[in-house]
């Protein structure tokens, strides 16, 4: 199957292009659109994006692999991203990590067999005053405790 944006996404893509003085600058936002539309940036998606913007395929691949937030592999329905940087670690992020691993029976960087949860450790998320913090997809859960983690996991269906 050929990869292509839906008509709606094509409109969004056009609006993005219009914002930048140079076409290549639209690569990051176009990758965001692609990730939203296809969930995973597969090699076919990379080729599609390269063609859309008229940039070399290698540049798309560099961007995909340089940044941490683009998904080259499928993620679970809920991407649990635990900050383990300094302020969160000072307030117990490592205990939270062990608890999450126990509960989900997976390690960091892995996805549960039912594809529901992916667990990742990430660098500082900018929520140091309410550490420890866990990012679940686009939501942030602050002042975490193991009890709060349990409540959260029950809620995430």
């Amino acid at each position: 199957m050929t990869v292509a944006f839906s008509e709606k996404t094509k409109e969004k893509f056009k609006a993005i292009l219009a914002k930048y003085p140079e076409k290549g600058a639209a690569l990051l936002p176009t990758m965001w659109l692609a990730q939203k539309e296809f969930s995973v940036i597969t090699p076919e998606v990379e080729e599609y994006v390269a063609k859309l913007l008229g940039v070399p395929l290698v540049r798309v691949h560099e961007v995909l692999t340089f940044y941490t937030m683009y998904a080259a592999k499928p993620l679970g329905k809920y991407h649990l991203q635990l900050c383990t940087n300094i302020s969160c670690t000072l307030l117990g992020a490592e205990d939270i990590l062990e608890h999450l691993k126990d509960k989900l029976q997976i390690g960091a960087g892995e996805t549960t067999p039912d594809k529901k949860f992916t667990l990742s450790t990430v660098e500082c998320l900018g929520y140091c005053g309410t550490a420890p913090v866990l990012q679940v997809n686009d939501d942030f859960h602050e002042n975490l405790t193991t009890k709060k983690v349990d409540e959260l996991l029950t809620k995430l269906k």
């Binding site: 540049r59 560099e62 340089f66 300094i86 670690t89 000072l90 140091c128």
Partner: protein, 419 residues
């Protein structure tokens, strides 16, 4: 305590909307700048304000603007750095979430002063709410005629764009950020040429932090001298947001005069150490700032004063560690961070950060040797000053300061393990 300026809208309901912002005197500074002031006058006021770059480097903002050539063959650009990623730092996010119009207004004034017609704000990918709020504010400003063509009928045009990052600490470095803005991996550029001459899309570019830009409307409205006077006596330079985290009773963002003693921030504003424990160590300006011992915390939080005692102001993020903190583990966290975030372009940083991380992990596992500490010092000295961008030096800051200032704790760890 003086009335807050930069943080006045934190937690205030609907403060992000144009209506509430205008009701509170918003966009008055823009009107004053565009209709009553000449561009040079604005730059002069910013000069007088003593405002230094709030991202970490602390370069005088007015001076930075004055480096932009008046006539240039390429268009000029403003880039606002909202890639807040320095561990411990969380001050720009509430500005964007609660006061996005202050950023837009600051950008309009900056662009008018420097003769720029395209402004972009680079926001780290995780800050989804900041991005939504900024886009909302920009749309409102376009609809009101504050952005776009012929603003206030003064013949001044300005477009503004929000650019979402995708997860990379290095993009907080200004030339890495420019690369990322242009749709490339965020590897820093060789300097010179500096961005003021060759920046975004090869044009002269002003790069300012969110907190710096958000201060501009207040400076224009009330004057540079007024802002400068808000700093501590004899220090000046206005007010600053200090985000405090770690083992304090009241972590939070405190807006205080530049030059407020670190002790006052920790014990008065942040309520002191949790459980009334003793203080062991404090990082005064984000993870990259060399650590301080308890006897050093009477230092005024200000660029030159912190530099004098071998640390730095950085983003002003204060990270507090109590007496029970495992400093080997803490340094391991930091070294793994720098090793992960090194972009790989310069060998001393790419290899050095990785080596330091491996050695400190080995010490933590109880497999360290006393020579390891000297090896860390030697690697750190091999990185310092030998990289294109400050990430290498940033890793050196905590590495050297932890193992030299707390050497005994590291030695004990190597001899008998943790605790």
């Amino acid at each position: 305590m003086p009335k807050p300026i930069l943080s006045k809208n934190f937690g205030k309901k609907n403060a992000h909307s144009l209506g509430v912002y205008i009701q509170d005197g918003g966009y008055e500074a823009m009107k004053k700048a565009l209709t009553e002031m000449k561009p040079e006058q604005i730059i002069q006021e910013v000069d007088k304000s003593g405002l230094k770059g709030r991202g970490g480097a602390g370069f005088p903002v007015g001076k930075k603007w004055s480096f932009i050539p008046k006539e240039a063959p390429k268009p000029k650009y403003l880039v606002i750095n909202a890639d807040e990623g320095e561990p411990g730092t969380y001050k720009d996010r509430p500005i964007m979430e609660c006061d996005p119009h202050a950023v837009v207004e600051g950008a309009i004034i900056t662009c008018f002063a420097v003769g720029i017609h395209w402004a972009g704000i680079y926001v780290r990918g995780e800050y989804v709410k900041s991005i939504e709020r900024l886009e909302g504010a920009i749309n409102e400003a376009y609809a009101k005629g504050y952005l776009g063509k012929n603003i206030l009928g003064m013949g001044f045009d300005l477009d503004m764009v929000v650019h979402r990052g995708a997860g990379a600490y290095i993009c907080g470095e200004e030339t890495g950020l420019l690369e990322s803005f242009e749709g490339k991996k965020g590897q820093p550029r060789m300097k010179p040429p500096f961005p003021a001459i060759v920046g975004l899309f090869q044009g002269p570019t002003v790069i300012n932090n969110v907190e710096s830009i958000a201060a501009i409307p207040h400076i224009v409205k009330n004057g540079g001298e007024w802002f400068n006077g808000l700093g501590a006596p004899g220090i000046g330079g206005g007010v600053k947001l200090f985000p405090v985290s770690g083992h304090v009773k009241k972590p939070g963002i405190y807006e205080l005069p530049m030059g407020t003693p670190l002790r006052e921030i920790i014990y008065k504003h942040a309520g002191g150490i949790r459980g009334d424990k003793k203080l062991k160590a404090v990082i005064p300006g984000g993870a990259s700032a060399p650590v301080l011992k308890p006897e050093e915390i009477d230092v005024p939080m200000e660029y030159a004063n912190l530099a004098k005692i071998g640390s730095m102001m950085g983003s002003g993020a204060v990270i507090v560690m109590d007496e029970d903190t495992d400093l080997v583990k803490t340094l391991r966290v930091l070294m793994c961070f720098y090793a992960h975030e090194s972009c790989g372009k310069c060998t001393p940083c790419r290899e050095g950060t990785g080596w330091m991380a491996k050695i400190i992990k080995r010490i933590e596992k109880g497999e360290g040797e006393s020579a390891d500490l000297d090896t860390i010092v030697s690697i750190a000295n091999g990185i310092r000053g030998r990289t294109l961008c400050p990430l290498g030096d940033a890793a050196v800051g905590p590495a050297l300061s932890f193992v030299t200032k707390f050497r005994q704790e590291f030695e004990d760890y190597i001899k008998v393990g943790a605790g």
